[in-house]
């Protein structure tokens, strides 16, 4: 048995949930072009907007955290897409020019 990194997002999600907090897990599903975090990377968010981990280099985390609040409220997962081709890219796009899909789900 070895300890996980104290900042390990999935370990933190388990601790938060065990403490009774509502938690959403965001996961990078695909990346096209230049993207800072590989598919499978996690960002975890609680109902107060606390978060650990990352799905980009800090470019879209704010938007994912906001969407996560809705997912926590409704329990319905969401697929988010960010990139230069996306209209929202002008607000929260990836400056590196890539595109990513992020799946956000509530931890049941």
């Amino acid at each position: 048995m070895s300890d996980l990194d104290p900042l390990d997002p999935l370990q933190i999600a388990e601790e938060w949930r065990t403490q009774g907090r509502s938690v959403a897990i965001a996961t990078v599903i695909d990346t096209w072009g230049s993207a800072p975090r590989a598919a499978g990377s996690h960002l975890v968010i609680d109902e107060n907007g606390n978060f650990e981990g990352s799905v980009s280099g800090g470019c879209v985390e704010g938007a994912v955290i906001a969407e996560a609040q809705e997912v926590i409220g409704s329990g319905e997962p969401k697929m988010l897409e960010f990139g230069v081709a996306d209209e929202t890219a002008w607000r929260v796009g990836l400056s590196c020019g890539g595109t990513i899909r992020v799946y956000v789900e509530r931890l049941g």
Partner: protein, 231 residues
């Protein structure tokens, strides 16, 4: 994902067991599959491919939109020698996400005072590595340059297929080491896998800088290794 699946997944990761998490992105369910479990059908093929490549991917299985996330054990650095370089390496490794353990039978070196919060065993590598064997996710760093201590773990690491084997010592020391390993019957190809002189050539001069050079070389070996296959 439900909390039960997350607990199973986190427990496997703590136990250095490779795991794949399958998420149904339409229906929302998830399932943890541990390495070695039998999974039928085309999902089984996708899961096997995920374990081999270590890469997460979205796949279509019988019209279902699935995401397979892969969690391989973090690479583990086993250091032979509780020396000054090891003290620096022990602090750097966790930052890069690598587990680290130190083995040195010399009790004057292997003291808890010198290695606070580090997994440290003051015993012979022969005994420690029997209890906790090296594997393909292990990197072996031999830094005592004492043949009595270093030679066994170096040979053992080559036999076990460690993704990195590095040994400290001058070219002269290493030439003698190569001769001893050849006498033990190790092939030239196996011996050529030993990184010596140890560390990327960045002109490192201090023990701390040498630790950076070693860690960088370990990262390079891990990221450029052949795709891990399970036996």
């Amino acid at each position: 994902m439900d909390i039960g699946s997350l607990r199973t997944l986190n427990a496997a990761r703590k136990n250095r067991q490779a795991a794949v998490l399958v998420t149904d992105m339409d229906a929302g369910g998830s399932r943890v599959i541990l390495e070695g479990e039998v999974v039928a059908g085309s999902l089984g093929d996708h899961v096997a491919a995920a374990f081999r490549s270590g890469k997460a991917a979205a796949v279509d299985v019988a019209g279902r939109n699935l995401f397979l996330n892969v969690y391989l054990p973090p690479p583990r650095i086993v250091v032979i020698g509780a020396v000054h370089i090891s003290q620096a390496l022990a602090r750097l490794a966790p930052i890069a996400g690598y587990d680290l353990a130190i083995i040195d039978p010399r009790t004057a070196f292997a003291t808890p005072e010198r290695f606070a919060d580090v997994e440290l065993t003051a015993d012979w590598p022969e005994d420690v590595l029997t209890a906790r064997p090296l594997d393909a996710y292990s990197a072996l760093v031999a830094v005592t340059h004492d043949p009595k201590i270093d030679d066994f773990p170096i040979a053992d690491a080559l036999h076990k297929g460690c993704f990195y084997v590095g040994a400290l010592g001058s070219r002269k020391t290493h030439a003698k080491r190569v001769a001893r390993l050849q006498e033990q019957g190790l092939s030239d190809a196996a011996i050529a896998r030993i990184a010596a002189p140890i560390g990327l050539d960045i002109g490192a001069a201090t023990p701390q800088e040498i630790a950076v050079a070693i860690l960088a070389q370990i990262v390079q070996a891990y990221r450029r290794r052949d795709i891990v296959t399970t036996e």
